[in-house]
């Protein structure tokens, strides 16, 4: 009978619930910590510190159904306060106007509308992009941009939730997300060009 189990997971022994959720989410928490810290030892420490904090305030979590996002936000905040300890103003990263950069699109680089009968270059590029390529491009993003991309693309936070977590205005989330995505796509494009896995329709041009 699944019904009683669901009830117990929503209201049952806090410690058992917490441990089971951590077990279930650990690969995602570690993976995210790894992309934030870019170092496996730091990532392990970050997860341990964040989960210790999460347990300490577990009784403030109103609704266990939001455990996942709740614990993720604690992970983010733990990482950011760690940054603040090490550097004075990690979140001061401004987004300078650069429309051309913000409009950079990997799709536009590879898409060849008039050569469809030669194949599907954008699909070929996607198929050839390795996890390692994505990791390298993401790791190269400055902290402020990387965090927002991770929050929205990896954890599926809404812009409002991301803004609240980072304690910044909604517009800041939007501009960092735009820039972060553009930088990510440009980095992927550069890597792909260097590796020869993408042919530019214009013959190797890199805007």
């Amino acid at each position: 009978m699944p019904e009683p189990r669901r009830v117990s997971s929503a209201t049952g022994c806090p410690k058992r619930y917490f441990a089971a959720e951590v077990e279930r989410l650990l690969d995602r928490l570690y993976g995210t910590a790894l992309r934030m810290t870019r170092d496996s030892n730091d990532a392990e420490d970050l997860v341990a510190e964040a989960l210790t904090k999460a347990w300490a305030k577990f009784d403030t979590l109103q609704d266990r159904r939001s455990f996942e996002k709740w614990v993720f936000r604690i992970l983010v905040n733990t990482y950011i306060s760690g940054l603040r300890r090490r550097q004075a103003r990690p979140e001061e990263q401004g987004v300078e106007d650069d429309d051309a950069l913000d409009r950079f699109s990997l799709f536009e680089q590879v898409h060849q509308p008039f050569l469809l009968w030669w194949g599907n270059p954008e699909q070929q590029l996607l198929d050839k992009l390795l996890r390692e390529d994505i990791e390298r491009a993401l790791d190269a993003l400055p902290d402020g941009f990387r965090m927002v991309v991770i929050m929205v693309e990896v954890w599926g936070l809404s812009y409002a939730e991301a803004a609240e977590t980072l304690n910044v205005p909604l517009g800041t989330v939007r501009s960092r997300l735009n820039r972060g995505r553009a930088l990510l796509q440009r980095a992927l494009w550069r890597q792909a060009s260097q590796l020869g896995i993408a042919a530019s329709p214009s013959g190797g041009g890199d805007k």
């Binding site: 951590v22 690969d27 997860v47 699909q123 995505r181």
Partner: protein
């Protein structure tokens, strides 16, 4: 009630569309456009697949050491 919009408008709002951040009216307009426009549909599909590849890197097998450390930590909770 959806009004016709241009490809440029779709491209402009595509990422917000995929993030489900548009108001319902605009979202419906984009969805409607993409049912008829192969270029925009292809572009949306590309962004969707790229995004799912990005999402995948947020998951890494936790080392046994961390798993054991967390279990030991929770014993003490």
């Amino acid at each position: 009630m959806t009004r016709d919009i241009r490809c440029e408008d779709v491209i402009e709002k595509l990422l917000e569309f995929l993030d489900r951040e548009l108001d319902p009216q605009t979202e419906a307009e984009l969805a409607h456009h993409m049912e008829h426009c192969r270029a925009c549909f292809t572009r949306a599909e590309f962004e969707r697949q790229l995004r799912s590849k990005v999402a995948d890197v947020g998951q890494s097998e936790a080392p046994d050491r961390l798993r054991l450390r967390m279990r030991a930590l929770m014993e003490r909770f």
